[in-house]
């Protein structure tokens, strides 16, 4: 019974999908690395409190697109972005936009777990500290507990908060990175293949976590695993050779995609 009702709620949620407000809008986004063009006029919207999965074969530009959403591509000298990306209606490539502030609103979790080689506590508090989110030690303690709880790591590490973050297992490290991103209360969290370096058990934990985070955050996730995209996301976008092939509800995408290339990729015929 319970399962049924949950499934029903899910379905209702999914049906409401089309009315969910848009958090980020990408319009005609193209990215060039020097002379090489990596993205061709991508139009992709990110819906609020939704998990959007970006899939496609290696080198198709899905990570590149993800990194345009918080301007991480700025750190690459030769990289140039054209088109327009908005966050709550504001152009994030506007010269007046402060990239530091943008990245506080759009957090990121990377492919390889990359905790700072400092204590678990310092890992989580670093973001709030530099953004001035906490004044007292008590505030920081609270942020640490909340963030680690949201990342499902609190019970595992609460007794060793001052031990090094690099001493955790791979899965724990990745959840620490998620806690670190959550600690600055971003609106959007970008995840670049967050489970590719993890074993199936750790992957399951992170996926469960993504599911829970959805209620508070908008999530965009790049993944190579079709199953993962199907499990965690509500919307899926398929990239191929720098083009956006198809963007659809995840259910539809994996049962009855509009585009033949999506069908082939999902069936494992290329890539």
């Amino acid at each position: 019974m319970n399962m049924m009702s949950e499934a029903a709620v899910e379905k209702a949620l999914d049906q409401k999908m089309n009315t969910v407000p848009l958090k980020m809008i990408g319009k005609d986004v193209s990215v060039y690395y020097g002379e090489k063009r990596a993205l061709y006029d991508v139009n992709l919207d990110v819906r609020e409190n939704t998990v959007t999965a970006l899939i496609g074969p290696s080198g198709c530009g899905k990570s590149t697109f993800l990194r345009t959403l918080n301007r991480m591509n700025d750190t690459i000298d030769s990289c140039r972005v054209t088109g327009k990306i908005t966050l709550d209606g504001g152009d994030i490539y506007d010269p007046n936009i402060d990239v530091v502030e943008l990245r506080a609103r759009v957090g990121m979790v990377f492919q390889k777990p990359n905790p700072f080689p400092k204590s678990i506590y310092e890992n989580v508090t670093y973001g709030p500290k530099i953004h001035g989110l906490a004044r007292t030690k008590a505030d920081l303690d609270q942020i640490v507990e909340q963030s680690l709880q949201k990342a499902g790591l609190w019970n595992e590490v609460k007794d060793r908060l001052h031990e090094s973050g690099t001493g955790l297992s791979g899965g724990q490290q990745q959840r620490l990175c998620i806690a670190r991103a959550v600690a600055v209360s971003p609106e959007v969290i970008l995840m670049d293949e967050p489970c590719s370096a993890l074993d199936p058990i750790a992957t399951a934990k992170v996926e469960e976590l993504i599911h829970e985070l959805r209620t508070n955050f908008t999530i965009v996730i790049v993944t190579h695993s079709m199953q993962q995209a199907a499990r965690v996301s509500q919307r899926t976008a398929m990239f191929h050779l720098g083009n956006l092939v198809e963007e659809n509800d995840t259910d539809k995408m994996f049962t009855n995609p509009d585009d033949q290339r999506t069908q082939d990729y999902i069936m494992g015929r290329f890539g």
Binding site: V100, M108, G127, I130
Partner: protein, 440 residues
């Protein structure tokens, strides 16, 4: 796709008699040969290191002992201050005839006839001429000693010191020897009475330059070296680290920065004497700084050390994994925060190693200092880096040019001290690295 693979499989035929041992023996032999080469290279290196240490230590360990002659000196008022005017004119004490006190004490101790001028001269030659300043300092510090008799340990003359350490071949004909038979007999008498004895040579660490080996030490030179190291550390570390951070993290990658990089790498290989010429023309001739001052030496060594520090720091910065940078940037840290909170602390062990290696290099550097006039005969401690001073390796260089037997052991002794300084610095680098690495 599947069709293609299966057809390939069907046409692939394994050779009937597949041999997999072709060349295996050769490969293993090559590996063993390579290991043998490496092992030999290490053995040769160790051998030369051992030879170096053996020569230096075997020649130099005697420098840490000095023969002294302890004599009951009678601070006779008649000799020091015959007209009793020290109360009105203290300068009289500075110019008194102190060698006469030594002569009288020696004549008494050795029971020589005071009228025998030749014998008396030979006897007084056994005590270092520095006895004059030694006694003067005693009297000036405590004028009340005048009129009393006190035991004073006087430095033995360099050749007597060498003879006492067995470094002078006594089978050589007396005329060709620096120490004659009479003096050797007296040495026997004095050492029997306990007056002549070897003591730990504190003077080696405290004295300045002197033409008399027994009164020469590295104290003044070490202070000069210390001033220079301080200047190098204070200037080269911040400038070098800032330059590397700018070049590595902020500077656009273009032809200009490429050119700068190539130049820095070349500067690290420029012979150090060229830096001496540069310092001579810029700091002394153009800026008018004092000659043979530790300040100029420090500046020249800073110029020489900078490329080393910059190269080491850039390598250390480059070695910090980019994922750490992404993590900090992704959290909304600015570039500056990313570098100073995360990248630089992780690079610090490498930076420190580079700096200390650079400092050690600078500490042992002689050539550029010769050009800016630091081959000076400096007797007194420099009160500030602006005053004339000399440096440890320069002092060694100067002693190596001296002829006396006693300077040979002092040269090796000073080399030992320099080597100990270098070992201590390297140990410091290792300890600092350990501490930093444990923190992260």
């Amino acid at each position: 796709m599947t069709d293609v693979t299966s057809s390939v499989q069907s046409t692939f035929q394994r050779p009937a008699q597949a041999r997999r041992d072709i060349g295996i023996k050769k490969r293993y032999a090559a590996e063993r040969r390579f290991q043998a080469y490496g092992f030999t290279a290490i053995l040769i290196g160790l051998f030369f290191l051992f030879v170096l240490l053996w020569t230096v230590v075997s020649k130099g360990y005697t420098a840490f002992q000095q023969t002294t002659i302890t004599l009951p000196i009678e601070f006779s008022e008649k000799i020091i201050d015959p007209k009793n005017e020290r109360a009105t004119n203290p300068a009289k004490l500075m110019s008194a005839n102190y060698p006469l006190l030594v002569r009288d004490a020696l004549v008494k101790a050795l029971a020589i006839d005071p009228a025998d001028k030749a014998q008396v001269k030979k006897a007084t030659e056994m005590v270092s001429a520095s006895a004059r300043t030694q006694l003067r300092d005693i009297v000036v510090a405590n004028p009340a000693i005048i009129g009393t008799t006190a035991n004073v340990s006087l430095l033995a003359e360099g050749n007597i010191d060498s003879a006492n350490k067995g470094q002078i071949d006594l089978t050589v004909a007396e005329a060709n020897r620096k120490v004659n038979d009479q003096q050797i007999k007296w040495m026997g008498t004095l050492s029997e009475s306990g007056a002549l004895a070897k003591q730990f040579n504190t003077g080696l660490f405290t004295y300045g330059a002197s033409s008399r080996p027994e009164a020469a030490g590295i104290g003044v030179a070490a202070l000069g070296s210390f001033y220079m190291m301080l200047i190098v550390l204070v200037l080269a570390l911040p400038i070098g680290v800032c330059a590397s951070i700018y070049l590595e993290e902020f500077a656009p990658k273009n032809r200009l920065t490429d050119l700068i990089e190539v130049n820095i790498n070349n500067l690290a290989a420029v012979p150090s004497i060229v830096y001496g010429l540069l310092g001579l023309s810029i700091f002394i001739n153009f800026a008018g700084m004092p000659r043979s001052a530790a300040l100029v030496g420090g500046l020249v060594l800073t110029l020489m050390t900078l490329p080393t520090i910059i190269i080491a720091t850039r390598a250390a910065l480059k070695a910090v994994p980019p994922s750490i940078r992404s993590a900090a940037l992704g959290l909304g840290a600015s570039k500056m925060q990313t570098i100073f909170h995360h990248v630089l602390p992780l690079a610090m062990p490498g930076v420190l190693t580079g700096t200390i290696i650079g400092l050690a290099h600078a500490l042992g550097e002689t050539a550029p200092l010769l050009l800016i006039g630091m081959v000076a005969f400096v007797v007194d401690y420099p009160g500030s880096p602006m005053e004339p001073s000399t440096a440890l390796p320069v002092q060694i260089y100067m002693w190596a040019n001296e002829a006396e037997r006693a300077f040979v052991e002092r040269t090796s002794g000073a080399i030992m001290i320099l080597l100990i300084f270098l070992v201590v610095m390297n140990l410091g680098a290792i300890l600092l690295r350990r501490r930093f690495e444990r923190r992260w």
